[in-house]
Structure formats: structure tokens, C-alpha cells
């Protein structure tokens, strides 16, 4: 009985962290899907989202506003606005001027952007860990006995539900809306989409903005879940989310979701049944194996050589 509960608990831990990876991975996968490049500053945008949310929460607390829905909503809106503008700015500064050059050039400029943002936050907010107030406390306790109960905290449930809503909304947006159709067209053939009168610059900006907005949501949720933020907050998370995107098939949105969940569960199970020391070893071995046997990832489409 305990063993089963233990397994379920680790599964829940893995699903929570996996959902968050998935939210961040969307940003990588969308940008890759559209312009075929990796946005290495994406982890930093997620970190800035978390910081903005924290600043908003602290500000509201100073004003004496403590009603949870308002606090969360305001924090979310602030984080999304700031991160989205960052996403937009990253594209304008680091990608657009060098678009169409050798593939390595935007890669380097994005890494530069990432270093810049990280250090900017270092200077502006200090390098220490800042505690994130636990806004959503408590949770459900299921089954078991005194010694071991299955516990799902409200914040974990919030993370699942928010991720699910964001993912569904995004899928609907891509498949049904006008802008979504334009996104798909640009991702299939940028040049042709341009000839057909689609404002490709706008579409590419929109992609960065959507990815950044989702990263901001993840920043707020994970900030609350973990309990602290620091300027390196985005580095590891960005790396993991990137792995998730590649695992699921970079360029594919359901792939990012699947990749995130697989990675999250793999990590939780490794820490749970082997040792936390091997967590990263297992997740990155998984990546290498997938790349060896299925280079396009689990749900990725094989790349067709465009002539």
C-alpha cells in the first residue's frame, strides 16, 4: 500500500514539474517551428516573469491588498505584460537584424541576450535568493495512514489546471484563428507566406510574444511552488524545457507537452527510486537516446529538404 502511494506521489511530483517544463518548452518549440532557430534567451524571460510577479505581489501587499484572486490576477497580468514585451524586444534586437544570415549568428546573439538579461537582473535585483510568498497553501490529503499520505497541494493542482487551459487555448488559437493560420503558413514556408501577403514580421513577433507570455505564467506558478527566485532561476529550467521540446519533437506543440511530462516524470522517478544525484544524468541520457533513435523527437515530423 505504501509503495503504491509512494509511486503515485512521485508521479504527481513529476507531473507538476513536467507541466511547468511544458509551458516553458512551448516558447522554444514555437520559435523553432516558425523560424527554425532556438531562442536561448527564453529561460531568462521565464525568470523575468517570476521576478515581475514577485514585485507585483510585494507591491500589492504594501498597498494592503490581500484578496487572493486579485493578487494572483494582477501578478499574472504584470508578469505577462513585462515578459511579452521582453520577448518582443529579444526578437527585435537579437533576431530580426540578423535574420537570414548564417544560422550560428542569431544563436550567438540570443546567447548574448540571455547573458545580458541574467546580469541585468543580477544588478537590478541583487544576486540573492528572494523568498516568494506562499499564496496558495494547503492541499488535499488522500488515503494512507498517519505515516504516509498522498498529498496534492492546491498549488500543484493550480499548475495542472493552468497548464491544461493554456495548452488547450493555444491549440485552439493555432488551429482555428486567423493569426494561428498565418502562423502555420509562415512555419511551412516563410517566403511563400510573405508573397501571399502575410505580414511575416508581425507573425514572428507574435510567436515570441506568445511564447514569452506562457513562460511568464510558468514563472509565476513555479515561483510560488518552489518558494524562491534568483537571477539563475531561468538557466536550469530553460535547459530542461529545451530538452523537453527536443524530446517531444521540436516544432510540435503537443510534442512539447509530451516531452515536458516525460521529462518531469523521469526526473521524479529517478530521484524517487534511484537517487537525486542521477536525476540530470537520466534526463539527459534520455535526450541522447531519443536523438539517436528518433532524431526528430517523439512527435516531430521528419524534416523535408526544401529545394
Amino acid at each position: 500500500m505504501h509503495d503504491l502511494l509512494y509511486f503515485c506521489q512521485q508521479l504527481i511530483n513529476g507531473l507538476t514539474i513536467g507541466s511547468a517544463y511544458a509551458l516553458i518548452a512551448i516558447g522554444y518549440t514555437m520559435v523553432y517551428g516558425i523560424i527554425g532557430m532556438i531562442n536561448f534567451a527564453h529561460g531568462e524571460i521565464y525568470m523575468i516573469g517570476a521576478y515581475t510577479a514577485l514585485i507585483a505581489i510585494t507591491g500589492l501587499a504594501a498597498l494592503g491588498i490581500a484578496w487572493l484572486p486579485i493578487v494572483l490576477l494582477v501578478a499574472l497580468i504584470c508578469a505577462v505584460i513585462v515578459s511579452s514585451s521582453m520577448g518582443w524586444a529579444v526578437e527585435r534586437v537579437a533576431y530580426r537584424p540578423v535574420r537570414g544570415r548564417h544560422r550560428l549568428i542569431p544563436l550567438i546573439s540570443a546567447i548574448g541576450m540571455s547573458i545580458f538579461l541574467q546580469n541585468y537582473v543580477h544588478l537590478a535585483q541583487g544576486s540573492r535568493n528572494i523568498g516568494f510568498p506562499a499564496l496558495i497553501e494547503g492541499g488535499l490529503r488522500l488515503g494512507g495512514d498517519e505515516r504516509f499520505q498522498l498529498s496534492i497541494s492546491w498549488i500543484q493542482i493550480t499548475i495542472f489546471i493552468t497548464t491544461f487551459i493554456c495548452m488547450s487555448a493555444l491549440s485552439l488559437f493555432i488551429s482555428r484563428s486567423r493569426l494561428g493560420r498565418a502562423c502555420r503558413a509562415v512555419s511551412q514556408d516563410l517566403g511563400m507566406a510573405n508573397l501571399l501577403g502575410i505580414d511575416t514580421n508581425r507573425i514572428i513577433s507574435a510567436t515570441f510574444v506568445i511564447g514569452a507570455a506562457l513562460a511568464a505564467v510558468a514563472g509565476l506558478l513555479l515561483g510560488m511552488y518552489y518558494g524562491s527566485v534568483d537571477p539563475l532561476f531561468g538557466f536550469v529550467a530553460g535547459l530542461k524545457a529545451f530538452t523537453a521540446a527536443v524530446l517531444g519533437g521540436i516544432g510540435s506543440i503537443p510534442g512539447a507537452m509530451l516531452g515536458g511530462l516525460i521529462l518531469g516524470i523521469a526526473e521524479a522517478m529517478t530521484s524517487g527510486y534511484l537517487s537525486g544525484e542521477y536525476k540530470d544524468v537520466i534526463s539527459f541520457s534520455l535526450l541522447i537516446l531519443i536523438l539517436l533513435f528518433r532524431p526528430t523527437g517523439l512527435l516531430g515530423k521528419p524534416e523535408v529538404e526544401k529545394i
Binding site: 505504501h2 509512494y6 506521489q9 512521485q10 511530483n13 513529476g14 507538476t16 514539474i17 543580477h122 541583487g126 544576486s127 540573492r128 535568493n129 528572494i130 523568498g131 506562499a134 497553501e137 492541499g139 490529503r141 505515516r147 504516509f148 499520505q149 498529498s151 497541494s153 498549488i155 513555479l222 511552488y225 518552489y226 518558494g227 524562491s228 534568483d230 539563475l232 532561476f233 538557466f235 536550469v236 529550467a237 526526473e267 521524479a268 530521484s271 524517487g272 537517487s275 537525486g276 544525484e277 536525476k279 540530470d280
Partner: protein, 369 residues
Amino acid sequence: MNNYRRYALAASISAALMLPMAAAAEIRIGIAGPMTGPVAQYGDMQFSGARMAIQRINASGGVNGEMLEAVEVDDVCDPKQAVTVANRLVNEGVSFVVGHLCSSSTQPASDIYEDEGILMITPAATSPDITARGYELVFRTIGLDSMQGPVAAQHLISLEPERVAIVHDKQQYGEGIATAVRNELEEAGVNVVMFEGITAGDKDFSSLVTKLKQANVDYVYYGGYHPELGLILRQARQADLNATFMGPEGVGNKDINTIAGEASEGLLVTLPPSFDEKEENQELVKAFQDKGEDPSGPFVLTSYTAVQLIADGIEQAGSTDPFEVAEALREGTFETPIGTVSYNENGDMEAFEFVVYEWHADGSKTPVN
């Protein structure tokens, strides 16, 4: 080619002319520690203590008539950065260093200082390896993990735990002290059910906490620093883990309260005794308070002492040659704010005490027993 040679010659001549002039005016002391990065608050303690010592020594006429001058560098507690700043101190012509702070950055930096003939006193690095290599110019004003581990282990043993878990951050300091505690506990027949590493900088400890819960432990010893332990405490509380945590001095600072909040109540910490509460230090404590600084951090007065020892060593040796100063430090006995200091052959203090404190959610601490 010829031109380059000429420039190089001109540069070296002017350098040769300038260096002795600078050295005659003052004794330059490098202060190396983290000004930025996740453990910068310990760096603040170190810089605050060292600056105060330099200021007070200069105010009372310097050392043998020469003034002390600080050269401050930031190693971010990163071993790579530590090597870079150590080389910079070499280039600055520094003969004495107070630093570094983290054991993992002290070790590579000490290689450079030893090779270049620079005397180093670390006010905070507790890894036994640092002084175990027979280096001539390496000293410390703090105890060793091998002294701190047993204090923690003895305290745990006295609490008669049924099941203990030991977690560490896989770094030199954390894993070293965790291993020392485990060995001591196992020798005493305590049931250590888990010994596991985490990754420093990680944020998600839910799996670890679940594992601790499953293992049904009543005490957890953590070897590492506060950013990770703060999160573990907080996530453990969320998951209803009922265990008492204990950690080394790397977790005992007020930042753990901002991360863990209420969950930091009741945490046990081994710390150097509160030197700032000693009677004979009250005048010094007041000097810190007048400057608006807090002398209660574990490394403030150890850093102060490191500077003072360098000054005393120079005075006793009657020379600023690091080797002669090292000789004087090994031979002499010194009255300092952290007590009477005398050194053994390795450069470790003959005696250094660690005390167990209970930490509170408001950032204060009370001695246990």
C-alpha cells in the same frame, strides 16, 4: 618585432620603477570572497569584518608605521572565478590575502597563492583538505569540518534519533561535512537510512521530500548552503514532513528565513560561538554598530581576526615577507576577538569550538544546552 621588444622593455622598466614606490607606502591586503552570487551575504560578513580591522589598524598608526590597503575582489564562490581573481591579486602585487570563503574556491586559489609566495588566511573555508597538503602559507581563522561534523553528530546522537537521513549538495563543503556526520553517527550505531546528494541550484525538491517521508525519518542532516535547504524546508512543510532538520554554519543566516519562512523554526545549526556576545569584544561590537553594520554573522569577526593576525604577524616578524610572517604565526600565540589563537604545523587553529543553536522563524537563534 623590434618595436614590441622596445615597448616591452619600456613597460617592464616603468613597472619596476613604480612597484617599489607603491610597496613602500603601504601593505596591500587582498580580500577575496563573494560580493555577488547566491552566497553573497557571507561575503558581506567577510568584507565588513576585514574592512573594520583595516580601518582600526590604520587609525592606530598602521603596522610598523605602514598603512594597510585593501584590494577587494569578487570570486562569486565559483572555483573558476576564484582562480581568475587569485591571479589578479598576484598581478596587483599583493602579499597577503584574507579569503576565500567557500571551500571549493579556496582550494584552487590557495594553489596559486602558495606558488606565488602569498600568505592566505581564510576566515570561513572549513574543508580539511585545504590545510592537509603541507602548504606553508595557508592558514585559517575557522574550524574544520572534521571538528564541526562531530559536534553535529554528537548532538544528534544525544537526541536518540530512530532514523536519520543525510542529504548534501555534492560540493566539497557540503559533502565533506555530511560524510563526517554520517561516519560518526554510524560509529555510534545510529540508523542512517539515507545518504543522498542533490544538485546545488536546483529548485524542485518534491521528490526528495516524498522520499524522506517514505523513509519515515525523524532527523535530517543537510550538508550545504541555505538556498537549497531553505527550499527543502519549505517544500517539506508543504508536504507535512515531520522531521527536524540540522545543518552546518553554511545554512545559518537570516536569508534562510526569507526563503523558508515559518518552516525555518526549530532548525538546528552548528555555528562558531557568537563572538559578538563576548564581554571583551563589546567595544569592537559598538564600532560595528556605529557604522551601521551587524557583527553577529559567523564570519565577521573571523575576518576581522584574519586581518589582525596578518598585522600581528608582520609586527612580530619585523618584516612583510610572507614566509617570515608565516613563521611568526606558527610560533606565536595571539589574543584576538575570536579568542587565543595559536597554529599547528598545517596552519589550522589548535582549538576551535562549534556550538549547536536552534534557529527561529524571525532570524534569531538560541543556544541549545
